[in-house]
């Protein structure tokens, strides 16, 4: 909203020395967010953030803002001149009003005025409108718009001659299929979501939003029916959304205006017509409708105020703040008992004592409150493995394993899903960010593969990881009374490099993760059933009998589309919750005492028959050895001329004695014998 300082100055004398910049700061600190101030030669214009006005219908006008500034600067708010009293017009003119929509239109005031000459408005009025961001049109339309920005009441003027005689106004729900062409020239199809102002036959305006083109004021208009009405906020909002049409009028009505404002708006408009349109005659005014005009009184006491704000504010100060804003305060010397809300704040803005706390605190100045430490209760600490471990996991991956953490969007790209064969997804958005991002991800793979493609131009080898939720068919239990989709947290990683060593690198990282999480009974089983992974390189990972994820090398075809045709890419994805495996505490890794006696190292090399894998050899060796074999690790595995050669470091050690060569020879003999029996050739 644009706010003109010249218009505001009509109602308050801004104290000397206060600059437009000061006003911007004062309003921002105590009332609403002022985005900027434009200081011109003849006026200064403030740009107010509309979102910060959502709950303040009274501030959608210059007079409302002037009232706020008067309270802030402690100066007087001047009244503006109003024409007559609505009740004075005993002759109703040539107009009938029928309200057929009950609560949706609590009040409708219509005035019939003739003797109108449509002309250009005076300069001050045109300039005021331009400052407020509204284009001047002609004196009648300009007056309705000026009242809108001045007091906040939307008005509309119909050409009385185009309504038929006698003029009849009906406020009703639109019938399905009815059409009205609004002032912006758009023909709009209506249904019962929309409230209309109609004549005997057809809609002539969309109530509270925009008038009709056919019955609007034109150059030759000499009599008008002026409307100043009140329409229900939810109704105007519903219709505005239905028609996809927001106007200066609708944004005010949807904040909930008071029916009294309709009367003020009408009398102010009549005054301006009286002053600015010579020859105009008010023939009659009709005021129809029902609304309950009950004062809102809120019980509140000083103790409550102090408790909520956290520091004592003098009672006199509180009363002066509230009265400055138009509230009436009932109090005696000792305490405050209740506060009466002014009508312009009573349509929903101020309803509970907490709302008054805001009024007091903001006018006192949030910045004037001193930070106060609170007395606190010592409670038992809650060990949160999920968060502790997530932090640890990320640190191990990033700072220990040399991976870089990425954060991706929760939706995945349809094209990438197609390349990977990962399927569209299980949950779609009604209003997706883009057509290709219609579905939420079921796996972290597609977005990470995109990261690979984007980075491979700049980096030869690298590794990335992400820890995030995916969204899948099924139900997951969370705190709350709603039934929500399965949305497990996953951790995925990718390593890109020149050769297949990336597989070993990434598998090593998985081993590190599993050891950080103290996983036991780990199995690597063939075939992860992922079409984007190269067959025979892919595997499922099981911990204590349950599958927690998979890894493998990315298939050549997929690598081609990732611009990685001459590189190797390894990928893993693990279920984060399965990694924790229902534990509530993570057992510490027990310390092993440092051995007293020296280890003895022996190496053996052997050819193994086809189809024998490292895991089975390891099991054979461990099975054949006694407890003196403390460690076994492979150090040289290669295939030459179709023969697979393996070499093992064997580390022997005893807690009781220094082992002799003879003892070790026996141990090694046992092991080689077992291997030979299985058909291995010892080299």
């Amino acid at each position: 909203m644009r706010l003109s300082l010249n218009i505001i100055k009509k109602y308050i004398d801004i104290p000397r020395g206060i600059t437009p910049e000061d006003i911007k700061q004062s309003l921002s600190r105590s009332t609403v967010e002022v985005e900027s101030v434009e200081v011109g030669e003849s006026d200064a214009v403030f740009h107010i953030d509309n979102k910060s006005l959502t709950n303040r219908p009274d501030l959608w006008s210059h007079y409302g803002m002037a009232r706020e500034l008067a309270a802030l600067y402690g100066c007087d708010l001047k009244p503006f001149s109003l024409y007559g009293n609505i009740g004075d017009f005993s002759v109703p003119g040539d107009l009938s009003i029928e309200l057929k929509a009950g609560d949706l239109c609590p009040r409708y005031i219509g005035a019939v005025i003739d003797g109108i000459t449509v002309a250009e408005s005076p300069q001050w009025l045109r300039e005021a409108l331009v400052s407020a961001g509204i284009a001047p049109i002609n004196n009648i339309v300009d007056i309705t718009n000026y009242v809108l920005v001045e007091v906040g009441q939307p008005l509309h003027a119909f050409d009385a001659d185009l309504l038929g005689k006698p003029s009849r106004i009906v406020v009703r729900k639109a019938k399905k299929g009815e059409v009205v062409t609004t002032l912006d020239g758009v023909s709009r199809k209506l249904d019962d979501n929309v409230l209309v102002v109609a004549d005997s036959v057809k809609p002539i305006a969309v109530a509270g939003i925009m008038g009709g083109a056919e019955t609007g004021v034109q150059d030759g208009t000499h009599a008008i029916v002026l409307e100043s009405a009140n329409f229900s906020a939810p109704q105007v909002r519903r219709a505005s959304q239905f028609l996809n049409l927001k106007t200066e009028s609708s944004i005010r009505f949807e904040k909930a205006l008071h029916p009294w404002l309709a009367e003020i708006g009408m009398r102010r408009a009549l005054q301006l017509i009286h002053e600015l349109v010579p020859g105009a005659r008010v023939l009659g005014v009709r005021d129809e409708g029902h609304f309950i005009d009950k004062e809102r009184v809120i019980d509140i006491d000083h103790r409550f105020i102090t408790r909520k704000i956290g520091q004592h504010i003098d009672q006199k100060r509180i009363i002066s703040i509230l009265e400055g804003l138009g509230f009436l305060v009932s109090s005696n010397q000792d305490d405050i008992s209740s506060v009466t809300v002014p009508w312009w704040r009573s349509t929903g803005d101020i309803t509970i004592p907490e709302d008054l706390i805001e009024e007091i605190a903001r006018m006192y100045g949030y910045d004037n409150l001193k930070p106060q430490e609170q007395r606190s209760l010592l409670r038992a600490a809650h060990y949160q493995i999920e968060f502790e471990m997530e932090k640890r996991l990320k640190e191990v991956l990033a700072l220990g394993c040399g991976m870089h953490e990425v954060l991706n969007y929760p939706w995945s790209d349809a094209a990438m899903n197609k390349v990977l064969g990962t399927g569209d997804g299980d949950w779609a958005m009604v209003n997706p960010p883009a057509p290709e991002y219609a579905y939420l991800q079921t796996t972290l793979a597609p977005n990470i593969m995109k990261n690979v493609r984007d980075n491979v131009r700049f980096f030869d080898s690298f590794a990335l990881f992400e820890c995030a939720r995916v969204f899948r068919q099924g139900v997951q239990e969370f705190h709350g009374k709603d039934e929500l989709p399965l949305q497990p947290k996953m951790v995925a990683g990718v390593a890109v490099g020149r050769d297949k060593k990336v597989f070993a690198r990434l598998k090593g990282i998985i081993e590190e993760i599993l050891s950080v999480f103290r996983c036991e009974h780990i199995e690597y089983l063939p075939d992860a059933q992922k079409s984007f992974l190269e067959p025979e390189s892919d595997m499922r990972i099981k911990v204590s009998g349950s599958e927690i994820g998979y890894m493998g090398l990315v298939d050549q075809g997929v690598r081609n589309t990732l611009d990685c045709s001459k590189k190797q890419v390894a990928f893993f994805e693990l279920d984060y919750v399965a990694l924790i495996g229902g534990r509530t505490f993570l057992a510490p890794q027990p310390f092993s005492p440092i051995p007293k006696y020296p280890p003895i190292l022996r190496d053996i090399s052997y050819f193994v028959p086809n189809g024998v894998n490292a895991d089975s050899v390891q099991k054979m060796i461990l099975g054949a050895a006694s407890g003196k074999l403390r460690r076994h690790e492979f150090f040289d595995i290669y295939v030459k001329d179709g023969n697979k050669s393996m070499s093992s470091h064997l580390v022997f050690q005893s807690d009781e004695t220094t082992l002799t060569d003879k003892e070790i020879d026996l141990e090694v003999g046992e092991i080689t014998e077992v291997l030979q029996k299985k058909g291995f050739k010892i080299r």
Binding site: R29, S30, V32, E33, K51, S52, T54, N55, R56, R237, R307, K308, G310, E354, D355, I357, E358, A361, R362, L369, P371, Q372, Q374, S376, L378, R379, Q384, E386, F387, K391, K394, E395, A398, L399, C401, G402, H404, E405, V406, L407, N408, M429, V430, N431, P432, P433, L440, N447, D454, R469, F471, F478, H479, G480, K481, D482, E483, L484, P485, Q487
Partner: protein, 341 residues
């Protein structure tokens, strides 16, 4: 027969060029290793007549011995060379290969540490949530314009007319999560709930469709506006590592009463106005006491308990902290960005 002389010359010439231990090891494998020509020759001798074995065996072994001695000599020379060679202290060292944590994770970790010192619990919940928690429970009146300000991504479900708990969304903020917590815990309590939220808006250097928030709620008998200010200072000073100047001003959010916005004096210009802040202040976080209706939705009696929320935009905080000029970098996955952290 083999030309032992030529073989020895070649090996010796090659040895002259060896300067490192690694080079020496390759030389040793090539000339004295299991598959070296000399060694293969000596092995083949085993199958030859005695005369030849004697003659060639002694010649061959002499070459082998000579080469072995030269090799050992070289080991010594390399050692001497390496100890007498001076170290160029200006030559770059070998940097370890260390990865990186996302700047948002770093800032989140900082905040978690700060809040844990204040005895806060960390809490987490669903990213697909419902209108029931994200709007209804948070005192958004039905058909209220404030619902629109959230620009929510709605999830397709079988029944498109569903409402409330059955109408699913990608959470547009974290606040709905606080109601899940309140419904299942007994006050007093204090907890934080970091996470990402989603809004359907167009992206630019300052706006994202997926962004990170860090929210905290304290519920106690008399946590006040002044008490909440302590939290605000704690957070900002922890993250920025120095004292900061803040201002609080009114802001409207249906779930808080009163609601306000907290601005921090710009750290780039110290409040002198610059391109980062515009007017010397940077909007950091909204906050305020939970509206009584929100406490009620959480099953908490507003007559007995009151509270204080604060909500920090982690993206913006990270941007301020590190001087990042475009929020879209956060989701770029670009290593040229990520590896700087």
């Amino acid at each position: 027969m083999i030309d032992l002389g030529a073989l020895q010359r070649a090996a010796q010439e090659e040895l002259e060029t060896v300067r490192t231990n690694e080079g020496l090891e390759s030389w040793r494998i090539k000339h004295l290793g299991r598959s070296a020509a000399l060694m293969l020759f000596l092995r083949e001798l085993a199958g030859m007549p005695l005369e030849q074995r004697k003659e060639w065996g002694s010649k061959g072994n002499a070459v082998r011995k000579e080469l072995q001695e030269l090799c050992e000599q070289r080991v010594h020379e390399i050692l001497v060379a390496s100890t007498t060679q001076s170290i160029d202290i200006t030559q770059p060292g070998m940097r370890p290969n260390i990865g990186s944590l996302h700047p948002i994770t770093r800032v989140k970790n900082d905040l978690n540490d700060a809040f844990k010192l204040l005895g806060f619990e960390v809490y987490d919940g669903p990213e697909i949530s419902s209108e029931g928690y994200d709007f209804d429970a948070l005192n958004f009146p039905p058909d209220h314009p404030a619902r629109e300000s959230m620009d929510t991504y709605w999830i397709k479900t079988k029944n498109s007319q569903s409402q409330g708990a059955k109408k699913l969304d990608l959470r547009p903020h974290l606040t709905g999560l606080s109601v899940r917590y309140m419904q299942t815990h007994t006050p007093p309590f204090r907890f934080v709930y970091p996470g990402r939220a989603f809004r359907s808006e167009s992206t630019d250097a300052g706006h994202e469709q997926t962004f990170y928030q860090y929210e905290a709620l304290v519920v106690d008998e008399d946590i006040s506006l002044s008490g909440g200010k302590v939290l605000v200072y704690t957070i900002l000073e922890r993250v920025f590592g120095k004292q900061v100047t803040i201002r609080m001003r009114p802001g409207f959010f249906p779930f808080v009463e009163p609601g306000f916005e907290i601005d921090m004096q710009c750290l780039q210009c110290g409040g002198e106005k610059c391109s980062v802040c515009g007017d010397g202040w940077v909007e950091m976080m909204p906050g305020g006491p939970p509206h009584p209706n929100v406490l009620r939705a959480g099953g908490i009696d507003p007559a007995k308990w009151q509270g204080f929320y604060i909500n920090i935009g982690l993206d913006r905080l990270a941007m301020m902290k590190y001087g990042i000029n475009d929020i879209r970098l956060m989701h770029s996955g670009d290593l040229r960005f990520l590896r700087q952290f």
